[in-house]
Symmetry: D2
Subunit: 341 residues, 4 copies
């Protein structure tokens, strides 16, 4: 029997979710909740016969709904996911999982207690590019990972419910966590607010990991040109993922430096090695189809969870910590600016 | 009469300096000091008849030398420039001008006292690209500058006398100072050391300026791919300078966001404007020829100095401050890593 | 009242046609003919309630169909369009309009006689890029057009009903005819057959126009990399349209050569002018929506036809002539190969 | 003992020749002939002490000259090379070797009779890129070569002594001959004259080879953007050489089509295979140094000649044939244009 899914929210991402859940052999869409009548009409046009409601409560109360997909503003993730889990539904929630660590901890605890699946839609993990990167990292061909360098910038889209950090960083954070199971021990972050002085629209974030790697994120809603560029530096090889390159999304550089024994490092310049470049073919399968399939597989107990509540919580933990540092940093900068004028 | 120039040091940049000074209608090269005999031989081959010395002192003592160009390791800039100024020579010194603010202040004071020209070779200011950017900024077409975002990364070249910050940041710092005469009120910086634990080879630097602009620098000797990308975000238009793009080094985007009155910013999403792109033709004239010409013009009193000692000192002041923050930051990260393991 | 449209054929392009006709405020889709049951099922899923038939005749016989869109293999365009026009229907047929000049002449004549609209779906004319190019050419900014140079290559898709010439050249031919109303006076063409010795999969076509312009087409189904690059050389400026460039689809180069008086041309090398580049913003509106709107506008007599039967015939005339030259050329090459071995 | 070389002509390419011959361990430059005094002065500045003459005869008469490098306008290649060979000198002549097949046959015959080395400077054969391509082709990884597709376009430089065909095609012709020893059995060529009606500045050339390969050349002095793109299509893999790509000059695509048995080709659509891309590292060694070294090696009998007179003649043979076809073609087009007006 197929998993009967209710969808909560039909905004920007809603049509993609609806289409992919409906197309899945494992699931069927049985209900949808959305406040705006015109959005409900679009949903019915896309899936004729779909039962729609103007209220999430109504869907959560349906006995023939096994699982819900929550695609609403971030502030509502926690109450909706909580209520759904308590009503015995499995939950797939959009990223970020929730707005605070406390919320996340409660959701994880409820999911454990109720035995329901709690999953976060970190869609990128199911792209052909990230799957190929994961495979490359696990093959050991890059050596030990030393750094990540991500540039994720474009013009807009401004969000009203989150700032640029909470909007863009979850992608990179979930990918790095997927590639390398390590702990953040240091967070440096600063940013800039063009529009709204309380919502940074440019953020520069650096994370220091326990086992000697660093990750840098250049995140912006204010760049004239869209860039999606993610670099991994390993001790043996390096990898560049340019998500906008249609021909060569991933390039693996057989380049690096020849490390010297510790005692020579201060005095001897290392040798460079600039080698071949290899660009593997990337699957073009739609990532969201994989997400839906994985959600069903985990619910049925056939697949080990790749992005469950604990993973989603780890991302929120970094975001919360980064936000605190960012707030402090921006306040300090503002004070200095006032002092200088 | 032409200005009689002595060149101190004939390393990586030496041949370019020698060629451009020799080619200048305003100058002639009369002597060169370099310790390594094989480098002296190359200099003589390049300019037959050139008097060479194995010792800088010898050139500084020559009465027929009016000016010296100092192209030696950074640590020697101060003593050599100081001695040259005291010997009554004009000085053009490679970037960064010196290794500490104290040194820089002393050089500026001596130059003022002796009435000699002290100039720093921030070559980029004389490239066709930076000249066009300066012209664009001054035309007002970008509006008020909000941010700079620079990515200056490649594989190598490791320097032995400076770290990645002192090697790469002077370019961007001098360019920004040239474009926008503002003061730094906040410095955030962190980095990573692959090779030598005391010489960061990747640095992430953010500067906050008094009049509400931010500058971010991604500097690295460890990138598999060379990138020289410098973005300026203005309130009206934005500019991208990609120095490796042979066809379109500069692109000006008639894109931006429509700012709202302050009181609406928190609640209303701004409008985007994605417009035409304009790529002006850039002069291909060799920048160093312009530097040499400017040095002569300033010595003769015909040109106002664009990169004199006080400008060079301003760059060193930011570098010194950034280095202090960086040292503290890296020590803290190291301590946290030890604690986490 | 909306124009009641029947769609004949639901293959590769069918879903786009169905979606755009259905979305048009001027039209409604009332019937669809398609032989393959599974394709009919997909059409009904896309537009619930759509009447479908397994036979084009059935749709052509429907009294409540005002117009038909013919999206079937090229060989069937003529009989279907002919029958539709004779049944009093307006016709929008996919490119190329038909397989021979004789067919095309008959269709044009029938359309004239019956007073029905005969239109060819040269979709590219309604892209933002071609609209901007048309505007640029008409502004005179390029000067007199001297050459077109088109590279339209990729890996696949092989067609079974047409060769690479008939598949790819109609795009460029219709665009050039749209930009410049001139006559072809000379055709040079050759090609290569990897797969099927009677269906060239690479074609090199050069057209000489009466008023001193040349057009070259590099067409291929066998290129490892997709290229869609169309260059216009004018006496004053030049334009490059790279349809795969997301950021700068069109670039206008203020470059050229300074022409000399005729009598100096043999002896004096002309001067070059390499100037600024300007890249106008391109509308992203879906072209096919514009086609459907234009079809309706012409039927209603509100718009002058841009790609009627006579225009479609002009394209077929060049294709037929080119095919004859190509056949002769390939036969000659084959004979020489046999002789050489 | 080093080979004593005289250089005839010191124009555009002269400084590179002088520098590389002078730097070679196998050769020394002993004399240079050049009519223009200012060019002679530049040569002496580059190599102090060089004996210069205003007349080629003088150098050809020097008994202490073993070999000459001829870098003069094409029309003078034959008389100079002929005289040099007859004077017992070895000859390295710039491309194209001469202006007619008759000249080329005579040079080859004289070289054979005198036992002197006659070599053509097809410099590209010694670039890292072509060396890597040669290695790739010989490894069999591409399978059988089916096509070459070369785009060699830019704005200028107009030549006064040759047209665009003779200027640009020799590069591609010598490379193809180097990669694949086959005979041309068919030549299609047309072009366009912007400036001088007798000197085409755009040429489209297609060569059909005996063993079932085709080569297409798009050559132009009138393109707003410089392109140097050379594609090789093999039955197994395909290769793109983009000489302006600093990061990935060569890309090998593991893409292709799955060929079917002959009898199925007409009816069944072939399968595509889009695979990985591999970009080998290319040596950056200066090609001309390799040319000079090869010249010396062949003179000394240590290396088998790669681009001797017979190879150079093969290139001229194709050029001459192409020029005849081109002349006929352009005359025919002109006649049709006149008839149409």
């Amino acid at each position: 029997m197929r998993i009967r899914v209710g969808i909560i929210g039909y905004g920007y991402w809603g049509p993609n979710l609806l289409r992919n859940v409906a197309a899945s052999a494992e699931c069927e869409v049985v209900a949808l909740a959305e406040r705006r009548p015109e959005a409900r009409a679009r949903a019915t046009a896309a899936l004729p016969g779909l039962r729609t409601y103007d209220d999430a409560e109504a869907v959560l109360a349906l006995p023939d709904v096994d699982a819900v997909v929550i695609a609403t503003p971030v502030a509502t993730h926690f109450p909706l996911a909580r209520q759904a889990l308590l009503a015995g539904k499995h939950v797939l929630v959009e990223k970020p999982m929730c707005a605070t660590v406390a919320e996340g901890e409660e959701l994880v605890a409820i999911a454990a207690r109720t035995g329901r699946t709690l999953m976060v839609d970190h869609t990128f993990l199911f792209t052909g590019a990230v799957q190929k990167i994961k495979e490359t990292v696990e093959s050991g061909r890059l050596g030990k990972i030393c750094y990540f360098d991500s540039m994720r910038v474009n013009l807009g889209l401004f969000q009203t419910d989150v700032n640029c950090l909470w909007d863009l960083a979850p992608h990179d954070l979930s990918i790095i966590d997927h590639l390398m199971d390590d702990e953040v021990v240091g967070v440096d972050v600063t940013g800039y607010c063009h529009v709204n002085p309380t919502l940074p629209d440019m953020v520069y974030l650096t994370l220091h990991y326990a086992h000697d790697a660093v990750a840098h994120f250049n995140l912006s809603w204010m760049s004239p040109m869209k860039v999606r560029r993610f670099v991994i530096g390993g001790t043996r090889q390096m990898l560049i993922w340019d998500d906008l390159d249609q021909d060569q999304k991933i390039r693996i550089y057989d380049s690096g430096i020849e490390f010297r024994p510790e005692d020579q490092r201060a005095t001897i310049v290392p040798d460079y090695r600039a080698g071949d470049i290899y660009s593997p073919r990337i699957s073009r399968r739609e990532a969201l189809a994989g997400v839906v399939n994985h959600f069903a597989g985990v619910i049925r107990g056939n697949q080990a969870p790749m992005m469950d509540g604990s993973r989603g919580l780890k991302v929120v933990r970094v975001l919360e910590q980064a936000q605190q540092v960012l707030d402090r940093n921006l306040a300090e900068v503002a004070a200095r600016r006032r002092a200088a004028q």
